[in-house]
Subunit: 395 residues, 2 copies
């Protein structure tokens, strides 16, 4: 433990580097790009005039419509957050027992929504390059209790949707995508959220696109959207009819107003992040032991995150040591995702959680690090971060 946290470069050298490159203010891994407050205020005036705060208000309606348009899909249901959207996605498909195959390399919400729907997660290993579910590992995990596959487009990189769909079709399984990272991502010029049966987006404040907290569930038919909209409002189909055990998943007008303004900013946000991503790639291209994501054919990325993999041997310093040392430079990164969901006490007893079944995920979780990336991040700051990462390399 203490060894893994030590940096391989001498203290004196590190101190010199720190004097030169330490950032004047803490730089976090992300920061929301705020819309103009005056414009938000205009929306508030309409809320104050209508006195309608939540429950399918006018801004909610407008946001749902404009969001569907922007995303290029027909059916969007807004939620108070992405977790409740994912929870309702399973319920909408009546997946409430048995097993669902998913990735351990994800945010806890993915596994937890299975718990809430009475489902045993079956953790499946990931692909070293995409960091997503490895289709080659899925099929031998399918058993008589399997109901669905729930892949995650990690860091916005599309899963191998064709291979996954073909497995699902062969076995009659639903596919529900956790697309929390994949806002606006396109694959072969189609929205990635068209893949599978349902997809869920997250609009949390730390996301590329945000409605303060928030999320959306993308469905494919009128009937399914209706069912989802009932379920997110306690199951009410009308004042006197409750069609099932729903929940409160409603997005309020204040969130919808924020989301509407973000729609006007999202293309710029992606463009800025793309530029910064290119700077990072350039700045770290020659760093031994730092592996960065590259562009993937047929994929229009969203540049939501800038993850790197730290090869401790090549880089001369472990990921954990780099994470700690960067704090001294006022650079706050995230071990995203570490630990794996399969390592949480509540899931570790599952047979599929055995580390021996998840060699790639285990390895990646120990080396991954997300560097700061957000639209208002300064280009020079990115150059400085690269200089620090390069300077801390022991080779």
């Amino acid at each position: 433990m203490s060894e893994a946290r030590e940096s391989a470069i001498p203290n004196s050298e590190r101190a010199a580097l720190c004097r030169r490159y330490r950032l004047p203010e803490p730089v976090r891994v992300t920061r929301p790009t705020m819309p103009p407050l005056e414009k938000y205020h205009e929306y508030l005036e309409t809320i104050w005039a209508s006195k309608w705060l939540t429950n399918n208000g006018k801004l909610h309606e407008e946001f749902e419509r404009r969001l569907a348009q922007y995303l290029g899909v027909e059916y969007v249901s807004l939620f108070c957050n992405g977790t409740i959207a994912l929870l309702v996605a399973l319920q909408a498909r009546r997946i409430n027992e048995g097993e669902v195959i998913t990735t351990p390399f994800t945010f806890p919400a993915t596994a937890h929504v299975l718990y809430w729907n009475r489902i045993r997660p079956v953790f499946c290993d990931i692909d070293e390059t995409t960091l997503n579910l490895n289709p080659a590992c899925i099929e031998h995990l399918i058993g008589p209790e399997t109901k669905a596959i729930m892949p995650v487009h990690v860091f916005g990189t599309p899963c191998d949707i064709e291979a996954i769909q073909s497995i699902a079709d062969r076995h009659g399984l639903d596919v529900i995508y956790d697309a929390a990272h994949a806002f606006g991502v396109r694959y072969k010029n189609r929205p990635i959220i068209e893949a599978g049966d349902l997809s869920v987006l997250s609009f949390h404040a730390t996301k590329l696109f945000t409605s303060i907290e928030g999320g959306a569930l993308i469905s494919k038919t009128d009937a399914e959207k209706s069912r989802i909209d009932f379920l997110k409002n306690f199951g009410f189909a009308d004042e006197e009819t409750v069609i099932g055990p729903g929940i409160n998943g409603k997005m309020n007008e204040f969130q919808a107003a924020y989301g509407l303004l973000q729609l006007d900013m999202i293309d710029d946000e992606i463009a800025h992040r793309r530029k910064l991503t290119e700077l990072y790639r350039e700045g770290l291209a020659q760093t031994p032991g730092i592996k960065v994501h590259q562009e993937v054919p047929d994929v229009q990325r969203n540049y939501a995150y800038f993850p790197v993999c730290v090869d401790a041997d090549e880089y001369g310093t472990s990921r954990d040591a780099l994470y700690d040392t960067l704090k001294e430079f006022n650079i706050f990164t995230r071990k995203y995702f570490y630990p794996l969901c399969s390592q949480f006490p509540c899931y570790t007893a599952l047979p599929s959680a055995d580390a021996r079944n998840l060699p790639v995920a285990e390895r990646v979780a120990k080396c991954v690090l997300c560097l700061p990336l957000y639209g208002t991040l300064n280009e020079d700051t990115v150059r400085t971060i690269c200089a620090v990462v390069n300077g801390l390399c022991a080779h």
Copy 2:
């Protein structure tokens, strides 16, 4: 059915009444009293300055502190809505299987959170006067699978907390109060939310006190509050430790700001509602077949709702007919609560849902009606509503 919806007074008489008393604008059952927009804007300026939108921000912290102070309790955990707070309450106590005894005369959320926690609801009949769980009916429903009692302080009227606690203690059961209606209610000069093991408040826009959407879970120890706060944030105890299958139940800064401003207004809101309640009581005191709630000894009410019970025989018109007819007068009431949770398709197969076991609840659900009540409701409007209800009486 059609019979029940018919009004007993002649059409011509009703038309005359309508010409005289029809309200110029629709009056809904409730309407939020908005804080001054300028004051809300001031909070927004601090949010824009900090760029901190959610996850335990400064306003969240301040709201939690000031709310605890106002309510007279020590431990408050804020939530995105009351339903998720109730869902987490059960999880916080590790109640995740077996049975919980609850009332069918409540909002669907009460029963649904049991579903989400893998618990079979056991519906127990209510008391005709308080409309709350009847303690005399609880004990014979307790079996080897019973884990807890989940009573509801319906319309803010305190449950018989002493009797319930004594049953719970005798059988070693938890008591979790759905206090969604009971903001600020005191019993024997103590906050009612001190009763039982945990209590949950709702701050939905339709509530007496609102944070747009929102809710709070009231606990009793440091350790319990910590556990709740972890669970509402996916189970994170720190960046790398997940203590259990949590959820996203976080209240954001925009909700907290709204809640803070409501704290400044709540005493006036209650005073206004009290005044209107007295007007209603006066106006309906002589109406045959319209039963209204009276003051209860030792109870400091919050005047959140004005429910009446319509005795179709005495009043000469059924509750359903009155509800429909009032719409013609631009008076929009609510059959709150109808139908009973035990009548939802998802619960109707439970043995305890049999109507024969719930005679009082069945009767009350068919006669209850909530009349418009909110702080900005005009006194003359209340007088008009009383005149209409009196005018529609067939006796």
